[in-house]
Symmetry: C2
Subunit: 437 residues, 2 copies
């Protein structure tokens, strides 16, 4: 794992630091506190969410330091006073972080991440924690629906150009966790060891004096196993040319426009008639999970997904919040706290979570204990993992290994859901969330 | 301007480099070529778009280099062959880049960025160019509608937690260009010199033993000019406590939940009755341009906007594409090229653009000349600017100065539009795009 962006501490809202200043001033900053990240609801009609980002978040929290450039800025701009600057200069997260494994499915009010520390330490991580979890979980959740719709056919992530360049890297990572086979994003390959793929675009064909010349050039350079893009001019003519030049070993043809269902059938028949039964068909035109599902009966071999993947297919943010749910009083006893006013109430108290499962291993309920661990009936699965203990990162969650582990977790977690998890139409969460106090 | 992320070359789709390899192999890679970034259409019902990201894009292109880590990765993973690696090791963009000024408004098919170089050089910039322009323009376009709806009332960008942490920095920058007064994002303050603001969240109130204690702590630390958050428990009680503790100089109160219109009236009346006519009201609960417009008649002093800003208010990507529109043939003559198949046709040829204006200075048409500069009638405004000339960056577009210039450009460009630009309901672009060939 190569991290090019070691500086994370100013991915932070101004108010986190002014709150810190005021709490240092009032003497409350060191109160032991519990913050919880959770989503009050899933995006409209979604049946489950997928936790994304945890691995890279934990790396970023370990790099959450205020060094000269940051401290100079905060001092010059008078964001905070000297006492606060001194605190920040020495800041190292020293508390505990627990939570759902990356790749795990989640439901409304699942306690996805719990930070136990002083108020000061836990407060200033808020913005960064939510940025990473909200973005990556939105992508992982959308990606999971797409790979579910694709069945066993591989999905290729190719949305980099439709989102911020760094978000694109995180999106590629999240997509792979949720079952995508590969990505077009090279930086994601470098940073996370995920497979990258790609061959050519329309511009390559247009650069050459003819489509034939372009195909010849690509085959000469990349070999007959390559994927030729056949919709720059006339698709059938392009397929004939491709087969003529590459022979029966041509790897694949790509369709990027038009009526993909009709065209896939036509191209499949043509390829077969020309003796290219093993040449695959890749489709890539503005696909989302619905378009993928609609192509299930078409002779398509893999799906390239761009815009809708990196924009969360209608839900570009997971809507998670990060709330103080418990903190010590002057006697050192923990007190549950929650905002009371109007339409944004939260449930106070330290949470524990269990996925209740039937004797057959089928998930039936998301059970959240408030202030205690719910009892495992023997078939259940505990959902909270130790990520950071007394400021020390627990092995296995970060880096390339973390991505692989999260990919396996996603597969195992969806496999135990009721079969309705694959339904794309709007509905209720596939299992209910219940509190036990 | 401090750039922490100097490495941009692998924010690139795999196929850009395999295309390069095949073009080097076929001998076509050095053909002089013209690529164009444009949007075929605006997001559903939008009347204009706003160009965002150009300044930071140009900085990134100047840093677009393949160094040891990148080359090692590409070699180890066998993404490209040795000839291509040698080309990349020596890569410095040496061509020309023209385009719309950052902050400029655009319409369907406006030629927002034009890259003139060899195919090799222009091709490999595709993914990065589109990532930056698509993200930042989506945010700037949404932000512009919000500041338009807000009239003269200041808007505060506070969406960092709802998007990728780096996208958040870019979003803050884009929001300020489109008229936002400030942001909560500290990194944006550090990198681009934009004003940052913030005071406290609900967790600060909940940390303390009472709301009164929390307010006292905040006032003691931040002074009476601060903004107190008054909706943790009972709003009216909180306002009374705030005024009691801070007196008539209390800066502002913030409402973050409930029926904002009714509450704003109630709180305004209460503040006035307590003698706090100068205490402002800030509202911040899931606002978008429609909610801001609905609050126009309410006694609100400023708007904090989060989720809907950073997700482009329903249009999280600007949908721009980057197409080869012209390239030299063997005789060295430029030939217009365009994909012909099906539903994604483009207009080939090198473009020039002019905003046709009435004698009163009102924009009436987006006029695009194909292969020639349209004639200025005397009242018109040329839209293409030189950004990079023979590989050398033109001064004034990047860094903090670039942000300020873009902010001014946005203001001037919207001011000359027909007044219908402020309409939020769906409709046609406020001026038509016409081609002149």
């Amino acid at each position: 794992m190569i991290s090019i962006n070691s500086r994370t501490s100013l991915f932070t809202d101004h108010y986190e630091l002014t709150m810190l200043q005021a709490a240092l001033h009032s003497g409350r900053a060191m109160r032991p506190s519990v913050f919880e990240a959770f989503a009050r609801r899933l995006p409209d009609g979604r049946r489950y969410g997928v936790v994304g980002g945890t691995g890279r978040l934990l790396e970023g929290i370990m790099n959450f330091r205020f060094e000269e450039a940051e401290l100079d800025f905060l001092a010059t701009q008078q964001v905070v006073d000297q006492q606060t600057l001194d605190f920040l200069a020495n800041f190292r997260f020293s508390g505990n972080i627990y939570g759902y494994a990356e790749g795990e499915v989640y439901f409304p009010n699942s306690p996805i991440l719990i930070v136990e520390s002083t108020f000061a330490e836990a407060c200033i991580l808020e913005t960064y924690i939510l940025s990473v979890l909200n973005h990556d979980s939105a992508i992982a959740s959308a990606a999971s629906r797409m790979t579910a719709a694709a069945g066993g056919r591989p999905c290729i992530e190719m949305g980099s150009r439709r989102t911020h360049e760094e978000a694109a890297v995180a999106a590629a990572r999240a997509a792979v966790i949720a079952g995508f086979a590969s990505t077009s994003n090279l930086e994601a390959g470098l940073r996370y060891g995920v497979p990258t793929v790609g061959t050519a675009a329309h511009s390559f064909t247009l650069l050459h004096d003819s489509e034939r010349e372009a195909f010849q050039a690509q085959l000469a350079s990349q070999g007959v196993g390559t994927t030729l893009l056949v919709d720059t001019y006339d698709v059938n003519e392009a397929v004939r040319t491709a087969v003529e030049l590459a022979g029966p070993e041509l790897g694949a043809v790509r369709l990027d426009s038009g009526d993909l269902i009709a065209q896939a059938h036509e191209v499949r028949a043509l390829l077969d008639s020309l003796g290219n039964e093993n040449t695959r068909i890749v489709v890539t035109s503005d696909l989302d999970e619905y378009a993928i599902a609609a192509l299930a009966a078409a002779p398509v071999d893999s799906y390239g997904v761009g815009t809708s993947l990196v924009t969360g297919s209608g839900a570009p943010t997971a809507g998670m919040v990060y709330k103080l749910v418990s903190r010590a009083n002057d006697e050192g006893d923990f007190v549950s706290v929650a905002k009371a006013a109007k339409n944004k109430t939260s449930v106070g108290g330290r949470k524990y979570a269990l996925r209740r499962r039937s004797p057959e291993g089928r998930a039936v309920q998301e059970l959240i204990g408030i202030g205690h661990r719910p009892q495992d009936d023997g078939d259940d699965r505990a959902l909270m993992n130790d990520f950071v203990v007394n400021g020390v990162l627990v092995d296995g969650w970060t880096g390339n290994a973390g991505v692989q582990r999260a990919t396996a977790r996603h597969q195992a977690s969806t496999a135990e859901l009721p079969s309705s998890w694959r339904r794309l139409q709007k509905g209720e969460p596939v299992i209910p969330t219940e509190y036990e106090s």
